[in-house]
């Protein structure tokens, strides 16, 4: 008995000693501050998530390369898989970890709406980089919640009016059954009716449903001029591909969820041609900091594109770091400081948060796919009349 106890004792003491030695800190380095990035890094939406992650990482890298900063930043990246339950798990993890000062979360609205309460419960300030569901900021006044991207209200308002101007009259809405899709459908319906157009039917499916031919068959019977899609890229790609297989020739009206290279590469440039969408930002080339961002992004050697919301992730991360530099790494102070942001310059333009933490300055731009690329409507051959949208009345 003595033997075994001594044995265990000796091992225990040596392990402890090892650990003590390994923990000697370099006392002369800058104080380390941890911030967290959350996005869909795996799964069907991963292209957007990885683009956002790379952009956030770039912001941290550039900041750390600046010798004048007080702190050294470490970006902790987490994968929410675009699923509410995983998002809840992951956010609970970072929120309950007191060493993480702020977060830059969520591409997927479904994930974001589920985690709002957790950020509040643990008082972790955050700046959303992509999720567009209005309720995230507007359902309640929660001091920890901020967002640099726009809400989906603006894009649907502009979209409905645009379609009216083109002369379209009959629509069918196809959305996913998460809160994101429901909200898209709600505002699409509201603004389309406001423009005195007709909605022949509404369909909703879970975002990972593979076979949409049943719903598309019914849509074919209804024969609308336009199919409005309120969901994310994977489902959108499936809808577009299966529309083609069933011989449906309606015009596809998209939303910010299909903005980006991922959609075009998923359906192929031929099928993507002529798809419309409305997005709360001018293209990278026209953003105030666009050139700076794309130059540095390429220099950093990332193989995957920043995608539609990469610049927003960059801007959000920079915003957080700027505030930490000003008021120090303290959650409560950062929450207060973020609430006061007005006209802050960034690569996406001036950022101003309203009382609910929502950035009120993004402008909605209209896009159409031309030759395998998203092109601003006004600069496209569709606007001049050289090419025609589908099903024009």
């Amino acid at each position: 008995m003595r033997d075994s106890k001594g044995y265990a004792w000796r091992i225990g003491v040596s392990v402890l000693a090892l650990m003590a030695v390994a923990n000697v800190d370099d006392a002369f380095a800058k104080e380390k501050v941890k911030i967290a990035f959350v996005g869909p890094l795996t799964g069907a939406i991963s292209q957007h998530g990885i683009g956002g992650r790379n952009s956030a990482e770039l912001a941290v890298k550039l900041k750390n390369a600046d010798p004048a900063t007080k702190y050294e930043y470490e970006l902790v990246t987490l994968d929410d898989e675009c699923k509410p339950n995983v998002a809840v798990q992951v956010v609970t993890k970072i929120a309950s970890d007191n060493s993480i000062i702020a977060a830059i979360p969520h591409y997927c609205s479904a994930a974001a709406i589920a985690t709002v309460d957790i950020f509040h419960r643990f008082k972790l300030p955050m700046v959303i980089w992509a999720a567009v569901l209005p309720e995230i900021t507007y359902a309640k006044k929660v001091p920890e919640i901020h967002r640099v991207s726009g809400t989906l209200i603006g894009q649907n308002r502009v979209g409905a009016q645009f379609m009216k101007e083109r002369g379209y009259k009959t629509f069918v809405s196809f959305a996913d059954s998460t809160d994101y899709g429901k909200s898209m459908n709600k505002y699409f319906t509201e603004f389309t009716k406001e423009n005195k157009n007709e909605i022949l039917g509404s369909f909703a499916v879970p975002p990972d449903q593979q076979d949409v031919s049943a719903e598309l068959t019914k849509i074919k019977e209804l024969n609308p001029q336009v199919i409005y899609f309120g969901g994310l890229t994977p489902l959108g790609a499936r809808v577009r591909t299966q529309m083609e297989k069933l011989g449906i020739t309606a015009q596809l009206e998209g939303n910010s969820g299909i903005m980006g290279d991922a959609f075009i590469s998923a359906v192929g440039p031929e099928l993507a041609e002529g798809t419309l969408t409305f997005f709360d930002s001018p293209p990278l080339s026209k953003m105030p900091g666009g050139k700076f961002f794309s130059e540095n992004y390429t220099k950093a050697g990332y193989t995957q594109a920043p995608e539609a919301y990469g610049p927003f992730a960059f801007a959000a991360t920079n915003l957080v770091m700027e505030e930490i530099e000003r008021v120090g790494p303290n959650r409560a102070k950062i929450t207060e400081a973020l609430g006061k942001i007005k006209d802050r310059q960034s690569i996406i333009g001036p950022i101003t948060f309203d009382d609910y933490g929502q950035n009120i300055t993004p402008l909605t731009t209209k896009y159409v796919v031309q030759d395998g690329k998203w092109t601003i409507w006004d600069e496209s051959e569709y606007a001049t009349g050289k090419r025609k949208l589908k099903n024009l009345p």
């Binding site: 923990n23 339950n85 809160d179 879970p206």
Partner: protein
Amino acid sequence: MTMISMKGTAGQIISSILVTVFLAGSLIAILEIEDQRELGICVAVIAVLSFIMPRLGILRSAEQAGAHHPWAVRSIILIGFFSVLLILRDNNFALLMIATILIYATVCLGITIQTGYAGLFNFAGAAFLGTGGYTAAMLGNVTWLPDAVTIILGGIIAAALGTLLILPVLRTRGHYAALTTLAFGVLFNGFLEANELLGGPQGLKVPGIQMFGWDFSNDLAIGSYTFSFYANYVLLIGAIFAVFMMFTRFVERSWIGIWLDAVRLDEIAASVFGLKVSVWKSFAFIAGNFLAGVMGAVYAKMTAFIAPANFTFGDSLLLVAIVLLGGIGNRWGVLIATMIVILLPEKLQFIQEYRLLLFSCVIIMLLMVRPAGLLARRVRVFEELR
């Protein structure tokens, strides 16, 4: 290795203390260490120690202590539990992990009763977990209903749902029986995803627990120590786990356990001896599901969120695999296996991506090489008291 003589009460008690200290220490170490390198070393050391321990006869001795001096062992465990709680008192995440481990361990106790004792296959464990959770979610807005009742109702409704399956489960054997629960688990998930009333794929928010006039989302302050609010949940779940452990022990060591074993080992012989096979199978099935339902309700309330994606076939499979890993029919094995399966992937970042792959490989190897699991269930010795 020297076979140290551990017989006699003193030896048994000391072994139990050793085992408890080892477990508690490993738990604290794994939960507290952040640096990946240190953690890797630590895990390796723990693995080596846990390999050595059974060889020294300590484990056998501790088991005997549990059999002959249950209340002494229980006190030791209790002291260990409270020490862990005290040391980890302001580590939110650690307490959350402990709570999760205890929840899964309890559900697996239920599966142990179903599969380990009665020989029923249950591939829908996650569905019953989910039933409890959704009951809690739905009743969350009914403010006059005390949370204790909600939690128990979660268990009752899960058990009731299980009775729908009793007929097919009783009438089928082997693979057909497996299909029954499997199909049920899948259709339950599909139902939740499709049904708008229950929140659909977006999920539902669930209010926290308020029991005995105390809101569980408040940090606990005892004397000069402040415990993170998760400690409330750990205490509650720990209490429930203890109760169910004692219940399972009672079932196993009583004539009920013997009858269940008879049903499992040879159904036809059992019925020849006059055992009402269907009655005992139903008992095991319902009891197991009740446990799952209760823990589901508590889990939903603790994480304040519930979504269908938490209750897939993969999750049910995980529960069955944990039971197998721990040693089918061994209640302590369940706790160890749960700790390994839930804790390690969370803390060891470098295996996080590969955790499912590693887990499946481990189970495959286990099934090929050592199907009895980590802590094999001891064969009943009817002459133990000699």
